[in-house]
Structure formats: C-alpha cells, structure tokens
Symmetry: C2
DNA sequence: TTTAAGATTTAGACTATACTAAATTTTGTG
DNA sequence: CACAAAATTTAGTATAGTCTAAATCTTAAA
C-alpha cells in the first residue's frame, strides 16, 4: 500500500475540489437559516439527487470537513467552515470586482462568481482585494469574510419586520440572486445604501408599501423579507 | 437507449471540458513548430503518460475535433482549431488584463491564465477585451486570436538568425514562459518593443552578444532562438 | 401504538480522466 | 533487409462525481 492506512483521513489541498467547495458553501449558507442542514435541502441547493449528497457527505466526513450523523443532518467542522468562508470571500470579492472594475451590473455577477470562486489564486484574490480597498461588502450588501475567516458584523432587520411607525430606513443588503428580480429592484432604486420610507404594511402578510424618492411602491411581503434595512441614526 | 446510436459523434458544449480544451491547445501549439504532432510530445506537454494521450485522442476524434491516424499522429479539424484558438484568445487576454489592470508582472501571469482560460464567460471575455481596447498582442508579444478565429499576422525572425551585420532590431515577442528566465529578461530590459543592437554571434552555435541601452549582454543561442525581432524600418 | 408516507441511505451502474504492465507497430541500424 | 530499440496502443484498474431503483429509517397521523 502506498499510503499508510492511518493516513486515509487527512485533508490535503488535492481533496478540496470545486465540488467539495460548493458542498461546504451550501452547508454554510443553509445553516445560516438556523435549521439543521439535511440531505434533501442540499440536493435542491446543489442540483443533484439525494443519493449523490449522501455519498459526498461521507467523503466530507472522512476529510473531517463536516460532522455527519446519518439520517440526522450535518454541520461544518472548524476546518470545513474556514474553507467555506474562504470560498465565500472569493465569491463576493469577484462579484464586487466585476461591478467596480468591469462594468457588470449586480444581476450579472452571481453566475460568473459561482464558477471563478474556485479558480482564482491567492495572489489574484489579494490583488483584487487590494484594488477594491479591502471592502467589507459585495454589491448585494453581503458581508465579505476577512482573510482570517471572521465576518464583518451585520445588525439589520428585514424590511418585512418594520411597521409604518418607523421613520426612514437605509437598505443594507438584498438577499436575492434572481437576475430578473435584481433588475427590477435596481430599477425602482432599491439597492444597498438607498434610503426608503415605510408607508404602509397590509395585514395578513400583505404587501409593504415603501416610498423611494417620491415614488410609492408596494412590495410583496416575501420579497420584503429579503431586504435588510437599518434605522437611520439621527 | 436514451441517445440514438447515430448521434454518438456529436460535439456538444458539454463535451468540451477543460481537459479537452488543453489537449486542443497543446495540439495547436505543437503544430506551430511544423512537425507532426505525436503522442509522446503531447504526453510531455500535458504532463500525462502516453496511454492517457492515446485514450483522449480517440475521444477527440469521436468528437470530430481532430483527425487521428493511430501510430502516425494527429491534426486539428476546423472545429478543433476554432476551439483551440478561442482558448488561446482567453489565455492571452487574461494575461494582458492581469498585467494592465491588476499590476501583475509578465512572469506571474501564465499559471493564472492557464486555469482561468477555461472558466471565463463570453461576457467576461468581451468586457476584458473592451477594457483593453481590443488588443492584438499579450505581454509576451504573443498574438491574440480575433473573435472570428483569425490571427494577427506576425512576420518576425528569431534573434538567433541575425548576424552582427544587422543594425538595430525591435523585440516583438518572447517565446518563453519560464518565470525565472522572464524575470531575468525584463531585468536586462529585453522585453517586447525594446530596441537592441546585435554586437556579435559566436560560431558553433555560440552565444549572441547584444547591446541594450549601452549595456552589452551575451545570450545563450538557445535562448536567442526564443526572442523574435523585427528590423527597424528607417 | 401502529403504520404509512416521507426522507435517507444502500446497491449497482456509468462517465471522464488518469495510471501501470503488456502487446504491438514503427523505425533506425548493422 | 532483418531485427532490436523506441514509440504507441491495448488491457486492465482506479478515483471522483453522478444517476436510478430498491431498501431502510424516521416521523406524523390515525
Ligand atoms: Mn461554485
Ligand atoms: Mn452577492
Ligand atoms: Mn489550461
Ligand atoms: Mn503569453
């Protein structure tokens, strides 16, 4: 045997393929919702069938990137999370770079970043971060993980949680990556850093009406839940 | 059977993997030397063993990307060449972009481009080309294939072919991608567009002595063969 | 508390790309 | 022109990632 049997579980650079990175990223992102990360959710997210997920979960567990309890779900280990965060950093830096340096709009960057995140070198990552002045947020307001694997703290509520009583709020993040919806949102001026006023909130989970520079727009409550805002200070 | 048997030879986007692209690019580049492209040369270039090449050549022939005569070598078909040229275009645009927009030096860009060439979208390619003003040559003086798959014509001789009789020449291309040698060459000022004078050429394939802005430097004949130059007009 | 529906895993298979060892073809030398 | 050396292909195997069909586990409803 070429490799000793007690070495089979070692994580090497080689083992971290683009597919592995996407699984880790998916686990990380699904965990953000607070729920246990299950096979079915991963299958949907990653566009594969459940048995494919099960097979990969075993591989990831062998690499000590996740803790896996059959039938019960998974969670990232410390090293799994570090890799996930590094890939997320790549993704968000690339998104911002494409917008800032190459004139992409915020609805065009996701698919490009989804691929390139796996292939830029550490050197290119550094040059991009440097060019952008070590930014903390991407074009959607998503926080960019730091090099050390920490995340800029975000304290924001969703637009859906605010009542008309609230005064002006500032949009800080748009948690949507559907190109058509993103185009719609930027058309009405609802982008990170814009200021809006909440005009009305219909009961029974009805629409939220907001005002953006004179214009009133009714937003579906589901969509409003994806818009994170902060109260204006002062 | 899901796919009819008379359809097995169809080239689809799916079939064109990064590995396939690298084979086509390698065949294209080896062909430039004028010699028949053989299994052994491809194996060396692509860092795989000869049986691996044989297997892939069959696949490429099935996809109508090459003509393959067992034991006798291969050549690209029209569609194989188009794909090779497109990948070369990506490679060289990326190299130039990294130098122009992100401060890379010419010895750092090859490895990065070798990977990214397979993963940029057509949209990103277009934005990069646009940013660069639709350039015709990369940082090494290598011609960048046009969108239509044609190549800017280059008429240049190697430095090794010139005798001291020749007057000043302009460096137009450096056919080397070894980072250490490239650093050496840029240190002595031997880069595309620089002007040099040929001072001496030793017999028996000996060194060529050149002068670059007052300084005389002896260049190994092998290395001189990789430097393409043009006589200055006027 | 039983049981059926839903979720998940197991079993078995396939494709792409790689390898080593062995067989075969080509080529260059005597 | 014969034949050994070199080049190439064939044969058989491996790994990563995917699939479908079948088995098994979990859970929620009767
Ligand atoms: Mn990805
Ligand atoms: Mn984003
Ligand atoms: Mn490549
Ligand atoms: Mn080049």
């Amino acid at each position: 045997m070429t490799v000793a049997e007690n070495e089979i579980n070692k994580t090497t650079k080689q083992n971290i393929t683009p597919v592995v990175e996407d699984y880790l990223k998916a686990i990380y992102s699904l965990r953000q919702t607070g729920e246990t990360v299950r096979t079915a959710a991963l299958a949907v997210r990653l566009n594969v069938k459940p048995p494919t997920v099960t097979a990969m979960l075993k591989t990831l567990a062998d690499l000590n990137l996740i803790r896996y309890e059959p039938y019960r779900g998974v969670e990232l280990t410390e090293s799994g999370e570090q890799i996930a965060l590094e890939v997320v950093r790549h993704h968000r830096l690339i998104e911002l770079y494409l917008v800032e340096a190459l004139g992409f709009s915020w609805d065009e960057v996701h698919d490009e970043a989804e691929v390139l995140e796996h292939f830029i070198s550490e050197k290119l990552e550094a040059r991009i971060a440097d060019y952008l002045g070590n930014p903390t947020h991407d074009p959607h307001g998503d926080p960019i993980p730091n090099l050390d694997g920490t995340l800029p703290e975000t304290t924001a509520n969703t637009l859906a949680d605010f009542s008309p009583a609230a005064r002006e709020v500032r949009v800080v993040r748009v948690r949507d990556q559907n190109p058509d919806r993103l185009r719609y949102l930027s058309e009405i001026g609802l982008v990170p850093q814009s200021t809006i006023k909440i005009v009305a909130a219909e009961p029974f989970d009805g629409p939220i009406t907001i005002q953006i520079s004179k214009k009133k727009i009714a937003l579906d409550r589901q969509l409003a839940r994806l818009i994170l805002v902060e109260e204006m200070k002062g």
